[in-house]
Symmetry: D2
Subunit: 422 residues, 4 copies
């Protein structure tokens, strides 16, 4: 009897070895709705990853879907470079009325290209141009993107090595709680800035995530963020908040920095801004920083108009009042209870957890355990990913629109995975 | 009597000063079909820019539109990171069957993020990793993108200055015909490589466009491209063809380098690859270069599945046979005749033209004339842009699907603009 | 009556504005012997600066002078590139017999050019070549030289700005006691090295001074140096001790790191190595690091043979036994007593002091006071300089051969200056 | 019978593998006078290398020797940092009266440290500071020094690789005659500067040697140098002439650029400026460029006063009238005749020669032949070195004070070596 090995799929034969998520989730996904995906064989998966934070309103959200199909049906502009279009105006007006004005945020809006790294690149360019300095400070375990400018302020050694050139002009500083409270906040950073002999190249800007997603769900305290803003003001550095993963309501408020009461000089948004998972990004900055020359930064896909349509629809549907924020906080408490129960039930696992809004991390001393939990979760129909420098943290990032029941289901599955991997 | 100034639009008050196309085309566009856009006031414009080459099949192409709406309607995966999906498999298989296999191209396919600059960044990273060298050679008047890695191999001084840091690790070499035939091809480049005392850091790779679009429609001859490939082989450098603007049939064949009979080591594609103007990009490379580690380069919007759907539909509809290529060549001859007539009619303008397939440039000694031609064209309902280091070239980049009549109409309008700006 | 302004000297009209010491000491010096200089007007000055540590054996030391004149008289080789010469052999043998062998130090000896910065540049090159990494860690307030490689690991912001390019590939870490004991030693450095997400480019080497002279007479504790060596071993980084100012007996032992019981991988020496104030420098390294190709680093003045003659004479005269070290320790105690008395007498000045061997610093909270002390000292015939990032430290650096009486005289003058500047 | 291997010398056991000249000239040199060295075994060598151009007045020139010993005997200041001293004033006044004023050169004088690379580093810093740009253009096969700033504008790939980091901020341009007249001078350089899309970072300065010594005795024509100066003026770039090896009369006139009638913005001098082979260097620049802050560039051995004494004595003895220049030109003609005869006699060797003043190169198609000629010359008591990117050029660099008979002797020996290596 001969055994015929299964034919290799086109993913294995044609697609580059660089692919990654598909290795941990060996299925071919076909359809999705809300918090659920379905694969070709009809298996259903509960999504606790939400496109790495790009699907805050769930997959194929019906409200946005309707607006999107209408727009396509009527031959609205699809690709618009940076031309003025009806869809862009609608988005800009909605963004102003629903987001900026109620929060008293004075930002100008730039369309820097449709991805997060485009937004970060434009933010860094602008900061350097405004201040006339090259250096930028980032934080330990920061993640800001894969193009060279963004990668230079990203912490992960493996990703950095991919650059193939030495990454310079960036200096890492300790993120909040990096020393478990052993060291006063900003002691090192401030000393370097004040000491004319420190050897630190004076930075143009500081770039920070309020919660580090890729870095392991490290949550900065509000007072730490306020102290950082204050340090930036005292030392004439711009404060850039990279809100690509944590913005658009992930932590509760629309911007993740609202809770801290700070007003960054520059803000980057992407991932869930289109609402429908379509590529879109924004770079926001205080009007006095808008010293760009026309066309000084450009890009082909800055005008992804279908994304403007769903983005405006999402803002209208979810942010016209404070309902969304309240709901996220409530769901977050539900997750917190679930994780607490898991840790109580599994004291030997050594796991501990942290989070804000609907982004949570469950850390294991042994990275292999985190990996095993995610692998088992996949078998049980739950999509979970790890993060952190050693992939030691199981990351919970469900859609904000997930129902309490779904959330509960996912948490129960997670509990089972933790148990079964003991 | 008091005059009420017109209210400033949200584009003027809220959007950053960096916006550019919208300044030359002061209209608010609403809908589009094929080669025509319509603004809010109902004016119709004939599109000789095609989203900077992103709309080779015209706006909202009905074949692709049908496939796209069907996919959205049935809740196909929208945002898929690098997960395996039905839509991605369909695209990969179609790309292999319709494009790679018939051309005997052995490439692996990478999804580097949805924009051209993502593709270029990944190509440069890979080349540096493979060769273990930092330096890359680019060409005078090259354009490869706005993120730091791509910008360092881009020629334009104004765009480069936007980086705010010195751009290094790149060295420019003269593009084909840079010295009007005064200097043998690659004389300087080859001497530097062979001379151990030249001071050139040995490059990992050479990155080239076969026709420089942003650089002024500079067309490299096939023999120059072959000589470049040969030089790369002799000197152990990888050859990267950036086919972002010139690929997908713009010059006739699907890849712009086919005519020269070369096989680049790495190819970047974007702009018209999705066919519908949606963000999508590919990085192709010879299988022996596929030394990426899983996840070494990543990005949130690598799996823009609706774009995969339209991309596969476009390949099926237009590239299953040689019809598209023949048609583009024929249309190109029509443009050539039109430009010849214009130059004959306006000898005093000093204009001369060049191009391949459906990308053409009409250069004026005085950049102000090129600008005036485009401004007048807008008034007459024709969208035209300039390119070149001094914006001295009027660029013709209509959809490949434009009809002969539309093409004729546009050329007649262009002729009128040239006349009227004398 | 007309007043004729005094003619400007050639120093003011011809020499560049970059000159500095001559501004604080406005005299034209003519002759010198031991610890005393004499200016053209016959004024005598007691030297508490010793050529910034280049004249440890005093000015024109008679023993060395005799050897030098003999060598010149007999037409010994003056300029020898890196050719083998009698004088070089004598130096190498003496250095081996008197310095290396008794200390059981296995170093190979490189002549990197005659200045300290040549030695540092060669040390950094070698470290990078050995480890295949670009980055080097230095310390806050480090001083390693003015050429680009050395300047990149130097702390002073004013000197760094002189580079005219962004200085990269270096990262500063806190020197010993930078936080007054608030923070455990190497907490930050070690965390960055161990955390794969920290964003620190893994360093090839660490470069350190055991006592920072230019940085303000900051004295590293022996246990801190040992912990640093241990960290370097654990993390596969080379340890470079820059002993240019503190070597050759300045702190007591010949090498300043002997007291700590460490064996750096690479050591740089210069300043007092020739003994007579003539340009000479050495780079020492463990034999397994000697992977230089012949001629890979070179320089015209590597073979300053008269300096080899005085260097060998100085080693013979002062280092054949332990006398010099004992004497320096004794003189250091005399200085310590003097400074203690000064601080006791002037509690309001807020001054405090620190030092080792014959290098001491008296710090004032107000930099203007330190400056005033030095200015008054000059009037009273005592040469003193400030150091530190704000020039807030009066630096005591007398020749090691100074007599107790001379030392006492200088300390009394210093005390008077402190009093008179209150 | 046992064979005792000869004991390894301290040069082999203790000195680093980086040593080079001593490998080709395996002798231990002891004494020297004029154009002759004597080794320990009493063998005499005629010096056609002159300390790589540092001994233009011969070894231990008696006039300078007298002044030097007198100075040392009377305890003149030896090490003076940048303090005003009698010896420094005498040098500055002599330099002004004998060199600058008669040539109507307005330069300010900076003492940048005692080596050539110190001078180049200071020149590059100043140019970058003045122009506010990072980039500097150098030429193919340039040699400017071994510290990082100088190395980045040096051509030799082997030396560059020694840096251990990518050398950036420099761009090589073709030196005069790089293409054997095939290409108009500066065609490439000027096109890059004028084309806003070229991708060349606008340079702060151009650094050039009028005759490239290490690069293979490549002689720039006067008209090429004038055209370069003119290009620098038109394009707002500073012109730096590195006259370290070719200045101090090597090509006839004191400055090598005098013949071309140009006035560089910045000039570096070292090697023979002290006259006696002692470390000393100068950086000269137009007064309006003297924007240094006090102490912005410094260094321990900037005040090597014995070198100032011999430098002043050399200027007085050799440059008070035009005798030296005439004599060098005459000696140069003698060398030219000798080389002509050698090439005539050995047509098969393919050798050809070039030079100016008393710097000449005899190039062989096969580098091994050049090497063999030098090796045989050593056996016959003649010191000769190779240069050029492949060490293919035998370099003739005798003291300017060599007698016609000595010159003839050396040329005859060289002729014999060429014959015998056929």
């Amino acid at each position: 009897m001969t055994i015929t090995p299964p034919a290799l799929s086109v993913f294995e034969t044609l697609e580059s070895e660089v692919r990654s998520y598909c290795r941990g989730w060996p299925a071919v996904f076909d359809r999705a709705q809300g918090a659920r995906l379905t694969d070709e064989d009809g298996h259903s998966y509960l999504d606790f990853f939400a496109g790495a934070g790009s699907l805050n309103y769930g997959h194929n959200n019906p409200v946005l879907k309707r607006a999107l199909i209408d727009y396509i049906e009527r031959d609205g502009i699809t690709h618009g470079l940076d031309m003025a279009t009806t869809a862009k105006r609608a988005f800009l007006e909605t963004f102003q009325n629903v987001i900026l004005r109620p929060r008293d945020l004075p930002y100008k809006v730039m369309f820097p290209g449709p991805t997060g790294t485009n937004a970060v690149e434009s933010a860094l360019k602008l900061a350097r141009k405004v201040k006339g300095r090259e250096s930028v400070v980032s934080f330990t375990n920061a993640f800001h993107g894969m193009s060279l400018g963004s990668l230079a302020v990203t912490g992960n050694a493996f990703k950095r090595a991919g650059a193939g050139i030495p990454l310079v002009h960036g200096t890492p500083m300790p993120f909040d709680n990096y020393f478990d409270g052993q060291v006063p906040d900003f002691l090192w950073f401030e000393r370097l800035l004040e000491d004319q002999g420190s050897g630190l190249n004076k930075p143009a800007a500081v770039i920070v995530e309020t919660v580090q997603g890729e870095g392991g769900i490290n949550v900065a305290r509000a007072e730490w963020l306020r102290a950082l803003q204050s340090l930036c003001h005292r030392q004439d550095m711009l404060l850039i908040v990279d809100d690509i993963q944590m913005g658009c309501g992930r932590t509760g408020a629309f911007f993740s920095f609202e809770e801290a009461g700070i007003t960054p000089d520059i803000v980057t948004l992407s991932k869930s801004i289109s609402g429908y998972g379509m590529p879109m990004a924004l770079c926001l900055f205080k009007p006095e920083l808008d010293i760009w020359e026309p066309g000084e930064h450009n890009g082909t896909f800055r005008g992804n108009n279908p994304a403007f349509v769903t983005a405006a629809a999402a803002l209208d549907a979810y942010w016209a009042d404070g309902q969304m924020e309240k709901q996220t906080v409530a769901r977050g408490e539900q997750v917190e209870q679930g994780l607490l129960a898991i840790c109580d039930e599994n004291p030997a696992s050594g796991g501990h957890f942290r989070g804000r809004g609907l982004v949570w991390g469950l850390e294991f001393p042994d990275p292999a355990r985190a990996s095993a939990v995610c692998a088992r979760a996949f078998e049980l129909g739950l999509l979970l990913e790890t993060s952190g420098p050693r992939s030691e943290v199981v990351k919970l990032l469900p859609p904000l629109t997930i129902t309490p029941d779904e959330l509960d289901e996912g948490l129960r599955t997670l509990a089972r995975c933790v148990r079964e991997t003991a």
